[in-house]
Point group: C2
Amino acid sequence: MRLAELSERSGVPTATIKYYLRERLLPPGERITATQAEYGEEHLRRLRLVRSLIQVGRMPVATAREVLAAAEDESLSQNTRMGAAVWALPHGPEPDEDDPHAERAREQVDTVLRRMGWSYGQELGDTSPAYRMLVAAVASLDRLGYPHDTEHLLVHARLAGELAVADLDLVETYDTPPEQVEAVVALTVLYEPVLLSLRRLAQTEESGRRFKE
Amino acid sequence: MRLAELSERSGVPTATIKYYLRERLLPPGERITATQAEYGEEHLRRLRLVRSLIQVGRMPVATAREVLAAAEDESLSQNTRMGAAVWALPHGPEPDEDDPHAERAREQVDTVLRRMGWSYGQELGDTSPAYRMLVAAVASLDRLGYPHDTEHLLVHARLAGELAVADLDLVETYDTPPEQVEAVVALTVLYEPVLLSLRRLAQTEESGRRFKE
DNA sequence: AGCACTTAGATAGTGCCACTCTCCAACGGA
DNA sequence: TCCGTTGGAGAGTGGCACTATCTAAGTGCT
């Protein structure tokens, strides 16, 4: 398969594929001659994954490169690879170090992790992007004066835990470790919009039920 | 309060506040003289909300303007205002009209909405941004060959429903309709990163539990 | 009153990012 | 042979969220 066919089958313009190749989001094709390269099914698959991460998952190109690099780093154990991939996922602005709101948020997040018995979150603590993203979001709620008591956060944490179980069940339906790592990346990212849109639909539903006149 | 103080108390540069004023994300201050304006506590509050929507909620400026405009449109009923505000929330790329993946995704989403008894989602159907966002995400999963069977989506939908109940409970702790509408916007947007980061933490936890060697 | 400093408001410029265009030399099928 | 295509590289584009500059009109200290 040459560039034109890869482009046609994926729906991605050739100029964009060239850009992805340059940015190392896509491994180079097998060079046939000095000006010709051959691409396989795995290139098509990878290209579709990249497109999904960028367009559906709204992930920056540089981030997608890191995530994919971590996911296929042969020198890491499978668990480390999964961790590294989720680790590199996009996250918002960092919480301010000496902000009283962030300080309070940090304590509260620690309490939630402890109550959930999430030891990884506690051990990794401040170094984990997801942890910092959580602190920044809670700090923001605090700054705006919106409630975010531990009980309410625990409701979310418990539901997140259930989601994670369902997600990992799905991941385990794949047989080989490389497939599983790719599945974690794809499912983590692609189920995010699913979850957010379902929540918004549910809110519309619930608010219609409560405030209908 | 003048611009400089508003800037200092909010931590937002004066140049940026001027930009927000120009973009009508912030109502103009009360004009004292030809070159002087006075801002109140409500400006500070609004500015903090705008900043949160943009920075934590990663919302485009134009979208934030629409959301806020809908939230305070006096001519709408409260329920309509809440709906309109959530309606305007950012959503990804639109699903392709004549894409077989999108077609299948649409059917499946309809099934989920029916099984959940979410009549609003069904009635509004294709016109709702959240509905289209959901279809696009499911279509993407389909395109990549990842499973998204109805049972699995229903797990997410059920959990989203629980979240919505908890969210609306929180909203109802506010007394006046305007406060409630603002609360819906703020809580919908600001709990999104909370939910996503908790999910990632939970995944790390669960994957550590399963794949530890 | 004189004068340094600040303010609101408008306009133009910056930096980043995801492409997208243009060009070139080398193929390759008719 | 000849013309359209290919891979590769560099420059250009458009959108967006600011940010810097400028101007005319205040304000406060002496």
